[in-house]
Each structure stands twice: as C-alpha cells, then as structure tokens.
Amino acid sequence: MGVAEIYVITTKFSIFVINSEIVRMLTNIEIEITPVEELIDALKEKIGEYFLQDATDDFISPYIETDLANLVDELRDDLYCLIEYPYVDKVYRDSYYNYYSSKHFAYKRDCIRVSLFSGEISHLEFFDLQKHSELDAKFLGYFVIRPTINALFGRSIISPKAFETNHFQICSCKTDCLIYGVKLGVEGFPHSSQDGETIKCAETTIWALMEYFGNKYAEYKPALPAKIHAALERFSYQRQLPSNGLTMDQISFALKEFGFGTSIYSKGAYGNELYNIIDSYVESGIPVIVGLQSADIGHVIIAVGKKFDPKVDWSQVDQSKIEIDGKEIDYYETTNIPAKYIVQDDNHAPYREIELTNPGEHYDDPDCQGYEIDSIVVPLYPKIYLESFVAKQLVLNVIQDSNVGYKFQDGFVFRFFLTSSRSFKAHITKQSEMEPALKNSILLSKMPKFIWVGEFYVKGSFATENMIAESIVILDATEANQESIDALIFAGYPDRCISMNDNNFVTLHQVFQNYRYYSNLK
C-alpha cells in the first residue's frame, strides 16, 4: 500500500468565554480527501476530535469501528471520499432542536458529511470549472455521521454504483448536493439509520419515503421528524418522544396526511398472494413499506427494487390457470418468478438483497432472523381508485372475453404493473421498430394520469435481452367501477387492437407488434 493520499484543507477554532466557561467554536469548515481504504481511520479521528473531544483513540469504543465498517465494507474499493465537518444536516438538526437540546447531556449539533467519488479526486478539481462535469460524473452520493454515538449513520443518498454488489434495479430519485462549493447530482434511494430516540424504524421509513417522493414529484414535500410527529399527534394517546415506534396503520395514516392514497395489505388476509402484490408494486416503481414480525419484535423496511435473474428456470415457477374460449390453459405470472428484492433497512447498509420469504436473512439476532412479512403499506397517488388485486383480475377477465380478448396459447407469461401514462407514452415513442400507425393509436389515446398495464409474452421470448411482448392491455387506474370494462383503454393483440373512439369500443385493423418490455426501475 502506498503513502496515504489524504488532504486536510483547513481548520480553525475560535475560543469564547461565556459565564466563565471556555466554549470552543469551529468557525471554519474542515475538508479531508481520502481513499476509501483509510476512511474508517479518518472517521475515527474525526469522531474522536469533534464528538468525543476529550477522548483519545484508546477511548473510542470498538463498536464505533464496527458500526462504521458495516457500511464502509460494502463500498467499492476504488472510491475516494471527501469528509467535511461541521456539516449542518437538516434531519439531525430537526431532532436536535426538538429533542436532544432539551436533554441534560450536551449533544453536538453539527454532523460530519462524507461524499463518495468513483476514482481519485483532488481538491484543486473543485476550483477548476472545466473539471466540474468530471466531478459530477464521479460523484456517487454522500452519507452523514451524527454526533449520536450509539447511532452514527444519519441520512444518506448513495448511488448503487458505489457498492460492490450493484446488479439490481431500484426506484431512484435525483438530488443535488453542494460539495466544496460545487453542485453535484446523485441518483439513489434515501436511507438513514434510526437514532432510537426521535426516530425508530417506523419514523425513519416515513422520512425516507417522503424524501424520495419529495425529491421526485412536485406534489409531495420531504418531511422532517418533527413534522412526522406532528402529523401523528391526533392519532397518539401518549407522549411521542422518546419514540416507542408506531403501528403499521399509523404509518398509513401519516402518509395519508402527507397526500397519499395509501393501501394496506396483510399476510393474514392475502396469504402468499401478498408477495405477488409486493412484486407488482415494486415492478411499478412504487416503493413498498413492508412490516415484519417475529415472535417478539416488529420492524419495518422499504422494498425499493428488484434483482433480475437473466435466466428463468420455468420449472421453478408456479403456474396459474385461466379459462380461455372454454379451454383451461396454464400461464405464468412474472410475480411468481423467484427473485431477490432490494430493501432499505435502517439497521443495515443501504440496498440489502432479501427474499420475501426470508426478510431477516441479514440479521445475526435469532429473533430478527425469524422475521416474516406481516403487512404492507403502499403509498399511492390519491386518485388511483383501481387497486392491484382487483385490477389484475380485471385484466385477466378482459383477455378471456370473446369480444375484447384474445385466444392466448398455453404457457404465456403475464406481467402486470402500474405506471403514469406520461412515462408509458414516452416509452412508446422510443419503440423504434413499432409501426407509426400503432404508435399514433396509443399516443393519441386519451389516458388518465395513472394506468395499469398487463404485458403478455411468449414464454421463449421472456427474460431475453430487451424482450418483446406479444400483447398489452391498458386499464384506467382512476376508474372506480370495478365490475365492467369501463376501465379498458387499449388492448393490443397479435391479430388486432381494441381502443375507444367517440365513446365506442372499436377494433383497429392493425396488429400489435414490436413493443418492448417497459420498466419503471433504474
């Protein structure tokens, strides 16, 4: 290993005397650039210097190193890090002003921020305008170290590219950060560990979700811990701080207060169908709040993505049955294809892979290893009146019909998801091999803000690169009449298409072809 490439830019303290006590105040920001292999040592020094001011290295608990290693060990080896202190973190400051500052023990109010870059960086690059786009390309996000020693990791938004294991797709939002005076952008899903006092897993989950939606859509705003507690005030019958956690329906209530039309699904009610529901929402690019329960503990995580296996072993996939044209045939639902899901768990580093049937697989504690999914809360746009369970059955009923359906062959593959019509139409315009007439028919169809889409594949063509669907059925997700085909907007089959014209259902004399797999995940 070569000589450590660490740059410490500046530090300056001012000494004030207030009521005969010496108060040391940091008046400048200290920046340090280090390769990731030396990050833990650098952070231990900083924690010792700023958060445990009178302690030496010997006093720093080994738990701190273990805690830091939980995240740092998951990162790629070639990263460079920019450490800055003091950093004003809005989430910790909110907890500090509303809780920590009221305690007898003196807590620091500033945090340490660590920014991650792919490859070596120099502080001189930040002063060179020509290098800013290069820095932006190298920037992979940041994480915050809080002065709460028992719960160091504060908020973070880190690109999956910063991790050793990153062959998965997630719902991601883009956010800008000002690092050393330069505005840099990163795409990822927000994460934070709980501090155990102002935010436990439930509040952290609500915060991460609001941070995601607030960064992504103008309709929503990020919510700091105090705002989350305020939203739940009339649902609380005892003190809210220190936090005792929340129930799953309280999470749903808080999200409803923040503008969502939430749906709750429990394992008791849906059985294993719940896994299919989680899959279809994750495939839709909607993060799902997943409540876990073991014998003694309840916990909550967010399912934010999925790891796709390029090769499907169909012998491992449960088949479903459907009656078409008086004949019962088998088909496959993509939700039944075994997969790993990507979750944000506030007890672990970001983007852990789990199986839905074994969500406690990353825990050492036997109680936590026994976690099972108990229920989920899905944060939906409030005007989505047609929900997943019913919408899926409606799509299957449409294809069974002799007037608006199609005689699918045995063994077809069915994929089902929710999306915005804007994103879907943008996808249609990118289908370079699709006939212009077919493109026009879809693009000129009037659609609501959100639609349910069923994609149908021939088994052999599924799971190939950039796969082509045989058919699609599009439903209006804002249609509350669930017992008719009023929700049907468009159906495309290999022999014809069905659409609406002047309030009539019409058959278009054009075949549906050259439509490729649509994904809301990145």
């Binding site: 129930t247 329906d249 699904y265 429990s266 936590c368 002799s402 017992e483 008719s484 014209n501 278009l508």
Partner: protein, 62 residues
C-alpha cells in the same frame, strides 16, 4: 400560399381502419365481466378491512 397546418387525431390516423364493436357485444361483455368480478370485489373488500385491522396490531419499534 398553401397552408402548412397538419391535423393528427385518432380519427384521421385510423380513418377507414376501424370497426365499431356493437353495443350489444359490449353489453354482453360487461355482463360477463360483472358476474366474474362480483366475487373478486367482494373478496377484496373483506381482505381490505381485515388488512386494516391486522395492520393496527403490528407494533414497529425494532
């Protein structure tokens, strides 16, 4: 000077290439779908209410 205006609509794009599905066929489809979906909706409503009750029992504080 000739106009450069171009009108593109569902009607102009598909002129002569569409057949209206008769009202009676759609009514027949709706009846069939209604019968099939009745149980689905009833099941969903029961599951929705059970889900809400069960979600109230799960305390998340790990």
């Amino acid at each position: 000077m000739s106009s450069k205006r171009v009108k593109i609509s569902f009607g102009t794009v598909n002129e002569g290439k569409i057949t209206v599905i008769s009202k009676s066929s759609i009514a027949e489809t709706n009846n069939r779908v209604k019968a099939a979906m009745k149980d689905v909706v009833r099941t969903y409503e029961k599951k929705e209410s059970r889900s809400q009750q069960e979600a109230a029992l799960l305390v998340l504080n790990a």
